[in-house]
Subunit: 597 residues, 2 copies
């Protein structure tokens, strides 16, 4: 039976970047601050109140800051926060009686109030709450057929753990709000993902909170618990390899300053927000008047260097050490863990890195040796009875760059080969650049890897002293693009990954590349659809959407928990400064310590 | 006048890797140790003596270790260094009376002797010595026409600095051993590369050590010294951005051990050699019985982690910190500085990174603003009168992997999309893998970036417990390939960059991808030529040649000295271990210090 392998789509990490030389106020209450615990309570009370008697049945699927218009934030900032901040609002999605309601709650007045309420009639469902997932995975435990299935397999119910999985959309005309519940076995390990109990289909309707479909199709050997534990206290000697301890000491202070949600470090200043769906949101990052969270790599990275022996009797060896600010967040999505790093450098560069770790998804098989496998099992045998399945990871970054102001253009600088046919010149070719500004959205869509090019966001209204447009460029890392058929259902839904890069005009409502309601979406509300309008993007407030991807063929080293695998990209100033902005940066003073461990 | 832009080719970084689980002796005298100062003296004396009266005219162009055959090194190692080491020999290239002589000097006996002496009659010339470059750049100073040219430009001879540049090969039938000498101006800066004196052609014959061609073609404004200084003591306030000092403290010791040229760290052991042409050579890197030079990134990188909340009433948060060993070398090639890092990880991964910094090559023009430029100037205006020219950097790594023994195969695992046409299955496609072992050299040649694939070196004779072939895979970073015409002279000479990856059977004489004599070579002794024999590479001792490239369009931030730009690739164990090799690694103990700065 060909069970087509599963594609794990990670639709996350929306990041807002704004480059400007304007100073950022460091007042404690900032219009982009995430909602506070007090505000969450006020919102809950206001929403429940507004539904009267039905209020008790409302479930909160999403609550987040409804960001004020950019122009209002900028105007508040340019007033050095002396102006009244823009109205503070929350965006709320609730479920009630099987319907999705979208609300906007105003928090500016003393008594918070609902300023907008609409029932959503489109496709797709909101995010699952922890509570409803917890309820759903408890249902099989008291379901007679499930109890029988576990018994038939000779397994002990007290060691069975369940987990919810989204059902996707495969062309069904009608969708109900359901999830699949899969069963796993602990019994000697916490790494239950390595012990799937195969063949049981359990579908739970979340609105009814009951099992609406049950089917025991087949059984396989459950892989052994042996070698799957990752907790330190469960490991037996010998341990190793042994690593020596090290500490970073900064006797002159940490070097960064946090006021409210605003971080200052070296020549950077930025606002770090948070959203339950996308995680950290970095806004208003500005370099010049200077900005942090954590130091890294402090051990001999080189910002720039040069040794010069070309001048008689002069010997020059100039080196400046590099220090970076790393904003790190870790997001555990079920079995997988994603490490998201934003590394800010004094040179103006920002490096984005995603690290993949955690536990693979595996399926159980009756095979115990690779030589027994005669047909496609959609993965690698990583242990006896255990196939780790092929899968993809895609991360779409929302990069709202305002290079020295909002009106920007996207310029693709192609590196092109030209023939040399001049008399007396033996060279036959050379390469040069040909720059093209994208006028509309379709002109900016890019499938990378085929031709060499530089990808630059410029401010066409601002020049350096010698007349280059100020800009920032995106330097891609390793590229991976989707390899499913374009008309396959998962790819219809994730069509926003069909290009590595898209550029759109800024639009407050276009926040998540995958659309507002991803669960069972039909792909009709994604970046790929919005951009079909082919809007003007030249000298406009524009947003870059960059997709970072990994095709993951697992190997045995990824079992039972995988060593971090990383990829990323870089934003780098491009004629943004008149010259090297760290030319006059001194290496930090050497630290001399007298320490007692 | 169209002066086709210059392509900077960096043909370096040959690295020898050998993966095996066999223990490496850590005796002080190792057959792969680089030549010692005493040995250099012995070689000089022996060579001079062998030429009798002509001995005084001999110039030494290259002296390096003639590595013993691999089999001899392995047999010596497996004897725990109790056997006599293999004969110690040096490979020497000298010039005498306008000819290139190749010598092998035996150092095993008490009195070193020449065991082989041949005159080389092929194309290309050996490396330039520092001494002959120093002599060559002094010649213009006393050359009447040059003195007149400097005077005509109103410049002061005492501030003129010259530098040598290879002339390349453009189809000439006869070549002499010549270099171009270009002139620059200091006068207020040490960054003379930013002040080229254009239009003067000086060609020096190195064998005659005299100017054989002189032509003053045209003059341009020499760019100002202003803003070009990079030395700290020449900078005026304000300084910044300010970075705080930090120190890494390892109270339990550095964690690595160096005996002779053998480095042990964590689960790694490796031999670090050195060659004047390629820099550091890492050999016999083995993981299991453990091997170093320097710590990095020690600050919160994550080897692996997982948070688990899926088991009722159990909360798990397991994290292991990562620590790496970095072997770093910096190579200044005239104006440019290359930072070469090899990062060894306890997980068995090795990350290769190249950092580009130093000073750009620029040309002087009469323009002072970009708007004045009406035709292709082959670069970016980075300052008044200053165009930084487009160029490429290519680094070819010689990766001699012996995965668990010498006989290995190269396997390309293609990720392929397959249709699903099964009744009742709504999915339309899925992807799977199709592995193909390269039988001959031509089957392994790869132009990356077009199709997704995993590139694996396996030992087809060794399997893991569940039956996968043990292997290591190469994970490419960003890809750049040459974009000159294939029949253009520079590309004929650097045809070994035409593929991103080549695989050859091990051959002691095939050491440098660019051939033995690169200066004015005609490309007839490169990897691209050797591999035309299309030898068998399946289950053989094989070598991977990986080319890392950068197309560099300069920007103003790169002036007057460029912030480091990096790229790299990774080697990662692939079913080499039965499971995650760092599962049982403990994070280093936290360091608690009482310090006084």
């Amino acid at each position: 039976m060909a069970s087509p392998h599963k594609v794990l789509l990670s639709l996350l990490s929306i990041t807002l970047f704004s480059f400007s030389v304007s100073p950022v106020s460091s007042q404690h209450e900032h219009p982009l601050d995430p909602l506070s615990p007090v505000e969450f309570s006020l919102i809950r009370d206001a929403v429940k109140r507004s539904y009267g008697a039905s209020g008790e049945n409302v479930t909160f699927q999403y609550v987040g800051l409804d960001e004020p218009d950019k122009s209002l934030v900028h105007s508040w900032m340019s007033s050095q926060a002396s102006k009244k901040p823009p109205p503070r609002r929350a965006s709320v999605v609730v479920r009630l009686h099987g319907q999705t309601h979208e609300l906007v709650v105003d928090l500016s007045s003393h008594q918070p109030s609902i300023v907008s309420k609409e029932v959503y009639h489109g496709h797709g469902f909101p995010m699952l709450t922890i509570e409803e997932q917890t309820d759903a995975i408890e249902l099989p435990r008291t379901h007679d057929e499930f109890i029988q299935s576990i018994k038939n397999r000779g397994l002990d119910m007290s060691s069975v753990v369940c987990s919810t999985f989204a059902v996707g959309w495969y062309g069904e005309l009608r969708s109900r709000r359901v999830v699949k519940v899969l069963a796993f076995y602990t019994n000697g390990t916490v790494n239950f993902y390595m012990r799937p109990i195969e063949g049981i289909v359990v579908v739970v309707d979340l609105d009814l909170m009951k099992i609406v479909k049950y089917h025991d199709r087949f059984a396989t050997t459950v892989p052994t618990a042996e070698d799957t534990e990752y907790r330190l206290e469960k490991q037996n000697p010998p341990f190793g390899p042994h690593l020596r301890g090290a500490a970073i000491v900064q006797p002159h202070g940490l070097g960064f300053d946090i006021k409210g949600h605003t971080i200052s470090w070296a020549n950077w200043k930025l606002h770090l927000g948070f959203d339950v769906r996308v995680g950290p949101i970095i806004s208003l990052a500005s370099i010049y008047d200077l900005e942090k969270d954590k130091y890294r790599q402090y051990a001999g990275n080189i910002m720039w260097r040069h040794t010069e022996v070309g001048i008689p009797d002069v010997k020059i060896n100039e080196v400046r050490s590099d220090v970076s600010l790393v904003v790190r967040s870790v997001s555990t999505v079920g079995n997988y863990d994603y490490i998201l790093d934003w590394e800010f450098k004094p040179s103006g560069a920002i490096k984005f890195e995603v690290g993949l770790t955690g536990v693979l998804e595996v399926k159980a098989v009756n095979y115990t040796h690779a030589s027994q496998i005669k047909e496609d099992e959609y993965g690698t045998m990583v242990g006896a009875n255990t196939i780790a399945t092929h899968h993809d990871h895609f991360f779409t970054y929302h990069l709202d760059l305002d290079v020295d102001g909002a009106p920007n253009s996207f310029v693709k600088t192609n590196l092109i080969t030209k023939p040399v046919a001049e008399e007396g010149v033996p060279r036959k070719s050379y390469w040069t650049v040909s720059s093209k500004t994208a006028r509309t959205e379709s002109e900016a869509q890019l499938h990378l890897g085929l031709e060499p090019c530089d990808l630059i966001v410029v401010n066409p209204n601002k020049q350096t002293k010698v007349g280059n447009n100020v800009g920032y460029r995106l330097i891609p890392g390793p590229i991976a693009s989707p390899i499913l058929f374009r008309d396959d259902y998962p790819q219809i839904r994730s069509a926003f990954t069909n290009n590595n890069l898209w550029v759109t005009p800024y639009n407050k409502s276009e926040k998540w590349a995958s659309g507002r309601y991803v669960d069972q979406s039909r792909g009709d509300d994604t970046l790929a659809v919005w951009t079909k309008r082919n809007r003007k993007i030249e000298n406009e407030d524009i947003v870059l959407w960059y997709t970072l991807g990994f095709h993951h063929v697992p190997y045995q080293e990824d079992f039972p928990i995988m060593p971090t695998l990383s990829g990323g990209f870089e934003l780098r100033p491009t004629n943004f400064f008149d010259r090297n902005p760290v030319l006059k940066t001194k290496s930090p003073e050497p630290v001399i310590l007298s320490c007692k461990p």
